[in-house]
C-alpha cells in the first residue's frame, strides 16, 4: 500500500533559459523544496508537446508542472506564446481525458526568481498531495492514450 | 447616491470624542454619504487586547466585521485610526484560512471573511471628494490658516492602509482647501503626539505634542485640524500643561477636521459639538464671522 507521506510522482518540463535557471538559482540559494519533483530539461516551453504531458499522466505521473520564461522574455522571442496557447487548450481538455486538471500546472519563472520557484514547487506539490496518488487507469483509459500523433517513437518508422 | 456604509464609531466616539462622532455623521449626511451604525458593535480589540494576544484582538475586531457582513454592507467606515488599524488587520487575517480558523475558534458566530474598512477621512475624500465638497460649501473658511495633523497611524503601516502618502499625506489638506481654508505646509503631519504616554510619561507628551504646537504656532496657524481622538485630547486637553512646560502660550484650538468641514458646509453648530473643545474656538469663529 502506498505510504501517504511518501513522495508522489511529479514531472516537471522546464525551459533551459529561464525556469531551469530559476530552479538552479533556488538551489544555489539552498531554498528547501519538497523532493517529489523530477525535472526534464527542454530548450524552450515551445518544445513541449502536450502529448508529452498526457503520456506522463497515462504512464503514472501524479502531477505535471510546466514552466517557461515570462511572456515577452522568451529566449527564442515567441516560443512561450506558442506554449501558452497549447497548454491552455490542453488544460481544458484534461477532464475529457479523465485527468483532474488540478494535477497540471503551467507557469512562468525567470532565471532570477529562485524564491518564486521554491513557492511554485511547494504549492504545486501540496496541491498534488491533497489530490493523492493518481488513480490507476483502466485499460479503456489507456486506450485513450492512443490518441497520439503518428510520430510516436514506439510506432517505429 | 453613494453606497450605504456600515459605521463603526468605536469607544472614544462615545466618550471624549462625541464631537467627532456628531460632526462626522453630520458631514456625511450633508454630502450624501449614508452611514448605518453597526448594531451591537463592541470593542475593536485595541491597545489592551492587542498588546496581550493578537488572536484575541483579531477576534474582537472580527466580531464587528461579522456583524457588518450580516447586515449586508460592503464596507465599514470608522473615524478612529486605531479602530481602523484593528479592523483592517482583522480583515486581512480573515482572508487567510489558517488565521481565520484561529480567530473563529474564539467567536460564537464565525466570520467567514474580511470586509474592507476605511477611515472617515478616506470615505469623505473618495466618496465625496474636494470638488463635491467645494460645491456644497456655503460659508468658506476664508482667511483661516489651518495646520493639518493626520497623526501617526492613520496611514500606517502603508502596506495595510494603502491610502494616501504615508509620510506626506494630502487628503485632509485637499478637503480643507476645498472648504476655503488656507492650509499651511505643516511638516509634522504624521509625527507622534505622544499618544497614550499621557498617562505613564507625561513628560514625553509635553515634548512630542509640544513640538507639534510650536511648529503650528511658528507657521502662524490659527487652528489645528486632526483626525484622531487621542491626538485631539493630547493637543487640546493638555495644551495648558504643554504651554506651562514649554513656557509658551499657544491658544490654538484643535478641531476635528469634520468640525471645520461642518462649519464650511453651514451645518447646525449644535451638530458639530464645538462647545466640547477645551481651547476656546471663539477667536477662530470670530475670524470666520460666524460667531454669534
Amino acid at each position: 500500500m502506498p505510504d501517504p507521506a511518501a513522495d508522489l510522482r511529479i514531472i516537471g518540463f522546464l525551459c533551459n533559459w529561464c525556469s531551469y535557471g530559476g530552479a538552479d538559482t533556488a538551489g544555489v540559494a539552498r531554498l528547501a523544496q519538497p523532493t517529489d519533483l523530477r525535472i526534464v530539461r527542454v530548450p524552450c516551453s515551445g518544445r513541449i508537446d502536450p502529448l508529452f504531458i498526457a503520456k506522463a499522466f497515462y504512464g503514472g505521473a501524479d502531477g505535471v508542472l510546466v514552466s517557461g520564461c515570462h511572456p515577452r522574455d522568451c529566449h527564442y522571442s515567441e516560443g512561450n506564446y506558442h506554449a501558452r496557447r497549447r497548454l491552455e487548450l490542453f488544460l481544458r481538455l484534461l477532464p475529457a481525458l479523465g485527468i483532474d486538471p488540478g494535477r497540471f500546472l503551467y507557469t512562468w519563472v525567470s532565471a532570477s526568481e529562485g524564491q518564486r520557484w521554491q513557492q511554485v514547487v511547494a504549492d504545486f506539490t501540496a496541491r498534488v498531495h491533497a489530490l493523492g496518488p493518481m488513480p490507476r487507469l483502466r485499460e479503456t483509459d489507456l486506450a485513450a492514450a492512443a490518441l497520439c500523433h503518428p510520430a510516436a517513437p514506439q510506432e517505429g518508422a | 447616491m453613494s453606497p450605504r456604509f456600515a459605521y463603526y464609531p468605536g469607544c472614544s466616539l462615545e466618550g471624549t470624542a462625541q464631537d467627532y462622532d456628531r460632526s462626522g455623521r453630520a458631514c456625511c449626511a450633508a454630502l450624501g454619504i449614508e452611514l448605518a451604525e453597526i448594531p451591537d458593535w463592541s470593542c475593536c480589540g485595541s491597545s489592551p487586547a492587542h498588546a496581550v494576544d493578537a488572536v484575541l484582538s483579531g477576534a474582537l475586531a472580527a466580531r464587528n466585521l461579522g456583524l457588518a457582513r450580516q447586515g449586508g454592507f460592503g464596507a465599514v467606515v470608522t473615524p478612529c485610526p486605531n479602530c481602523l488599524v484593528n479592523l483592517r488587520t482583522a480583515a486581512r487575517d480573515l482572508d487567510d484560512p489558517a488565521r481565520r480558523e484561529r480567530i473563529n475558534a474564539l467567536l460564537s458566530v464565525p466570520c467567514e471573511g474580511g470586509l474592507p474598512a476605511v477611515s472617515l477621512l478616506q470615505a469623505l475624500f473618495e466618496q465625496a471628494g474636494p470638488q463635491a465638497l467645494a460645491d456644497a460649501v456655503v460659508r468658506p473658511l476664508a482667511g483661516l490658516r489651518v495646520a493639518p495633523y493626520y497623526g501617526c497611524i492613520l496611514h500606517r503601516p502603508p502596506g495595510l492602509m494603502a491610502f494616501d502618502d504615508p509620510e506626506n499625506p494630502v487628503a485632509m489638506d485637499a478637503l480643507l482647501e476645498a472648504a476655503g481654508a488656507e492650509v499651511v505646509a505643516f511638516p509634522f503631519k504624521t509625527e507622534c503626539c505622544g499618544a497614550s504616554y499621557g498617562v505613564p510619561r507625561k513628560d514625553l507628551v509635553m515634548e512630542l505634542s509640544g513640538r507639534l504646537l510650536e511648529a503650528a504656532a511658528d507657521l502662524g496657524a490659527d487652528a489645528l485640524a486632526v483626525a484622531c481622538p487621542l491626538c485631539q485630547m493630547n493637543l487640546d486637553l493638555r495644551q495648558d500643561q504643554i504651554a506651562a512646560a514649554r513656557r509658551r502660550a499657544f491658544g490654538i484650538p484643535v478641531f476635528y477636521f469634520t468640525q471645520l468641514l461642518g462649519l464650511a458646509l453651514g451645518l447646525d453648530r449644535a451638530d458639530l459639538g464645538l462647545d466640547r473643545l477645551v481651547v476656546p474656538p471663539g477667536g477662530v469663529l470670530r475670524k470666520l464671522g460666524t460667531e454669534g
Binding site: 510522482r9 538551489g27 531554498l31 503520456k55 522574455d73 492512443a146 | 509620510e167 506626506n168
Partner: protein
C-alpha cells in the same frame, strides 16, 4: 551500447544529503550501463582523467555525469568526453546538486530522486546520436549600445583589436554619467580630464562609427550575423554642417527646456549642446520647447547659424548595421527620491540629489563650481549628506546596495570643505561599504583629515525651520536621537536600471533580473556573457558598478568579442531541427511558426514540396517539432523519442504504445 555513469560528491555539497555510492550502485543495474562509479570531485583534473581512462578501459560509447547543473559544467564535460575520443554529444548530465542535494533535506528521498535523475539521463543518452557542428562565416563588426565610460572602453578596445565598431548612444553626446561628474574617488581626479581624451579617441578612431542621438530599434539574426536597425532621432540640425560654435544656443529665446546633463539644476535652451567637451559637439533642438516647432514663430537659430545647419523639417531616419556581436553598455539611472515624503518628496528646494550637487561642484556647471543653495543662492555653512536613498530599502522595492554611494558621498563631503572652507559636513549612513583599492583609506581621510562628521543612523524627517532645514534622525551608536540644522541637504541617491532596459532586453532576447538589470550568463563563470550567444554586457547595465569595475568589465567584454572573432568562422550549435523528408508532407506549418525564418520551402527531385531547416540559422527552440502534424521535424538532441524516454524512466508503469 556501453555507457558509463560518474556520480560526483562535489566534496560534501552533494554527498552530505545524497548517498552517492548507492546512486552509482543503482546505476550499474540500468540498461546499457557498463561502468558506474562515484568520485569526490568529478570536474577536477583527476576526476576528468578518470572519465577518459574509463572510456578507454571499458570501451564506453557514452557518459553520464551526475553532479551540478548542466548550465554550470556541461561544456566542461563535453570537452572531457571529446578528449576521450567520443562525440561530445554522447554525454548527459544529471543535476543532483542544484535540483537535489541543495534543496532536499531528507537523504533517503534525495538518494531516490538522484537515482531517478540518473536513470532519466541514461535513458536519454541511449538515444543520443553523434552531432557535428557546421562552420559559418561571421561579420567581424561589433555593435556597442551605450556611450558611457563602459561603452567607450569596449568600443576602443574592440577597435584597437582590429574590429569595426558601431557605437550607438541615446543622448546627443557620449560620456554618460561619468561626463557629468566633477571629480572621481578615491584619487579626486578631475573626471572630464580622465574621460575627455577617451571620448576624443572615439571620435577620431577610424574603426569606430558613432551614431549619437540614436537608439537600437530592432535586432534580427544571430551570433556572427546580426542585423540591427538603428533609429537616428531628428536633431533638427544638420550635423554634417554644424560646427558646434554655439551661436544658436546663445541666442535661443526659449529658456525653459529641461537640462538632464545638469540634473535639472538649471533650465536649458531649446537648442542645446550639453557640455563643452561633448562628442560629437553638435547642437540638438528639443522639439517640445522650440518656439519655431511649437508655434511656428521664431527661427532665430536658423538666422544666426553661420553654416546654415538648422533644418526644422528634419525627420528621424533608420540605418541598418550588420554586426557579428553586440556589447550592451546602457548603464544605469539614478533613483528619484520623490517617493520619500520624509525627505520632503521634492518640496524643499534645498534638498537636492547627489548628481545635482556634483553639477554644482563642477566648474563647468550652472553655478560655475560654487556651492550655492538653490532657494536663495547663499553659500551653505552646514551640509548634511544622507546615504542609502533608494538603496537597501525593501519598502520601496530597492533592497540592493548601489555600491558606489558611500564613496561618492565621502568625495563630495571632502570637496565641500575645499569649496566652502569652514563648512560643517555631516553624513548619515547605515554602514560604510568601501571594498576597493584605497577606498577605506579615503573614507578615513574624510573623517580624520576633513572632519566630516559621520552619524550612523537613518534620518526620519527633514523639515524647514526658518530658512534652514532641520534633519532629525537616530544615532544608533550613541542610542540617541539627533537633530542637525542644515543649509543644504544632499541625498545620496542609488542606482536603478536605465529607462528602456526592459524593451532593449526583449529586443536582444536576453534576460533581466527582478530589478531590471541585465542577467549575466553565470554569476561566477560567465559574468560578461548573456545567455544569448554573441551578446555581452559591460558596466552598470548588469548591476550597479563604479568606474573601475565598469571599465574592467568593458575590457573583458571586448576580449570576449575579439576571441569570438579570432577565427573567421564560428561553429554552429548542432542541436538544431531536422526534417525527415520521408515523413514531411509539405504543409509548411513549421515555416509559419519558426521565429527565426530558419525553415525554407524546398522542391525535391520528385517534384514534391517539403520543408528544410537552414542549420546555421536554426536556434534550436523546437517550436516547429510540436507544430508538425506528422512528427517529421525533430530537434536533434531533444527528439520526441528522447524526451519521452526521460518521462518513461520516471513512470511506474510502462507507457502504452500507440498504434
Amino acid at each position: 551500447m556501453r555507457l558509463g555513469v560518474f556520480v560526483c560528491h562535489c566534496g560534501s555539497n552533494i554527498a552530505a544529503t545524497v548517498d552517492c555510492a548507492a546512486v552509482a550502485l543503482a546505476a550499474r543495474a540500468m540498461p546499457d550501463v557498463a561502468f558506474a562509479a562515484d568520485s569526490v570531485y568529478t570536474c577536477s583534473e583527476p576526476g576528468q582523467e578518470a572519465i577518459v581512462a574509463a572510456v578507454a578501459e571499458h570501451g564506453l560509447d557514452g557518459v553520464v555525469v551526475a553532479s551540478c547543473s548542466p548550465r554550470m559544467h556541461e561544456r566542461t564535460f563535453r570537452r572531457t568526453v571529446a578528449r576521450a575520443g567520443l562525440n561530445p554529444y554522447m554525454f548527459e548530465m544529471a543535476n543532483i546538486r542544484e535540483h537535489v542535494s541543495w534543496v532536499g533535506r531528507d537523504k533517503e528521498r534525495n538518494t531516490a530522486k538522484a537515482t531517478d535523475l540518473v536513470r532519466m539521463a541514461v535513458e536519454k543518452l541511449r538515444r543520443n546520436r553523434p552531432l557535428t557542428p557546421r562552420e559559418f562565416p561571421v561579420t567581424r563588426r561589433v555593435l556597442v549600445v551605450g556611450g558611457g565610460v563602459a561603452g567607450i572602453q569596449a568600443a576602443l578596445d574592440c577597435a584597437d583589436g582590429g574590429l569595426e565598431v558601431v557605437l550607438v548612444e541615446r543622448a546627443s553626446s557620449i560620456g554618460g554619467k561619468m561626463a557629468q561628474l566633477d571629480k572621481t574617488f578615491p584619487t579626486v581626479d578631475c573626471s572630464s580630464c580622465v574621460l575627455g581624451p577617451r571620448m576624443v579617441d572615439v571620435a577620431q578612431h577610424p574603426g569606430i562609427t558613432l551614431h549619437a542621438y540614436s537608439e537600437v530599434a530592432s535586432v534580427s539574426g544571430w551570433v556572427g550575423n546580426f542585423e540591427v536597425a538603428v533609429r537616428r532621432k531628428a536633431t533638427y540640425v544638420d550635423w554634417s554642417k554644424c560646427t558646434g560654435c554655439g551661436e544658436c544656443v546663445k541666442k535661443c529665446p526659449a529658456r525653459d527646456a529641461p537640462d538632464p546633463f545638469n540634473a535639472g539644476l538649471a533650465p536649458a535652451r531649446a537648442i542645446n549642446i550639453p557640455f563643452p567637451q561633448a562628442i560629437p559637439k553638435k547642437a540638438v533642438i528639443n522639439p517640445a520647447h522650440c518656439k519655431q516647432l511649437t508655434t511656428g514663430k521664431c527661427g532665430v537659430c536658423a538666422k544666426v547659424c553661420p553654416s546654415g545647419a538648422i533644418d526644422y523639417a528634419m525627420t528621424e531616419t533608420t540605418v541598418t548595421e550588420k554586426v557579428g556581436a553586440i556589447i550592451v553598455a546602457t548603464g544605469y539611472e539614478l533613483f528619484d527620491p520623490k517617493v520619500y515624503g520624509q525627505y520632503g518628496g521634492g518640496r524643499y528646494p534645498d534638498v537636492i540629489t547627489s548628481m545635482q550637487y556634483e553639477r554644482m561642484l563642477s566648474a563647468s556647471g550652472p553655478t560655475g563650481g560654487h556651492v550655492l543653495r538653490p532657494s536663495d543662492g547663499r553659500e551653505p555653512r552646514s551640509v548634511v549628506f544622507i546615504q542609502c536613498v533608494g538603496s537597501r530599502d525593501r519598502h520601496i522595492g530597492r533592497p540592493y546596495c548601489s555600491g558606489f554611494c558611500c564613496m561618492y558621498t565621502a568625495k563630495q563631503a571632502i570637496l565641500t570643505r575645499d569649496h566652502v572652507p569652514g563648512a560643517q559636513t555631516y553624513v548619515f549612513y547605515m554602514d560604510i561599504r568601501s571594498p576597493g583599492k584605497g577606498y577605506d583609506e579615503f573614507i578615513r581621510r574624510a573623517m580624520e583629515e576633513y572632519g566630516v562628521r559621520y552619524v550612523r543612523g537613518r534620518v526620519s524627517r527633514i523639515f524647514p525651520k526658518g530658512d534652514r532645514l532641520v534633519v532629525r534622525g537616530a544615532d544608533t551608536l550613541m542610542a540617541a536621537q539627533v537633530q542637525v540644522e542644515a543649509d543644504l541637504v544632499v541625498l545620496a541617491v542609488g542606482a536603478e536600471h536605465a529607462p528602456g532596459a526592459h524593451e532593449l532586453a526583449a529586443t536582444l532576447r536576453v534576460s533581466i533580473d527582478e530589478h531590471g538589470f541585465f542577467m549575466e550568463g553565470h554569476p561566477k563563470l560567465r559574468p560578461v556573457e548573456t545567455n544569448t550567444a554573441g551578446v555581452y554586457l559591460a558596466g552598470a547595465c548588469q548591476g550597479p558598478k563604479d568606474i573601475p569595475a565598469s571599465v574592467s568589465q568593458a575590457s573583458a567584454a571586448a576580449a570576449k568579442v575579439l576571441g569570438l572573432f579570432a577565427r573567421g568562422t564560428l561553429a554552429s550549435d548542432p542541436q538544431v531541427a531536422l526534417v525527415d523528408p520521408r515523413r514531411c508532407v509539405g504543409c509548411l506549418k513549421c515555416l509559419k511558426t519558426c521565429p527565426f525564418g530558419a525553415i525554407r520551402e524546398e522542391q525535391g527531385r520528385d517534384g514534391a514540396v517539403r520543408a528544410q531547416v537552414v542549420e546555421t540559422v536554426c536556434q534550436g527552440c523546437g517550436v516547429c517539432c510540436v507544430t508538425c502534424p506528422q512528427g517529421a521535424v525533430q530537434l536533434q538532441h531533444f527528439t520526441d523519442d528522447q524526451i519521452l524516454a526521460e518521462v518513461e524512466a520516471l513512470c511506474r508503469i510502462p507507457l502504452p504504445t500507440c498504434g
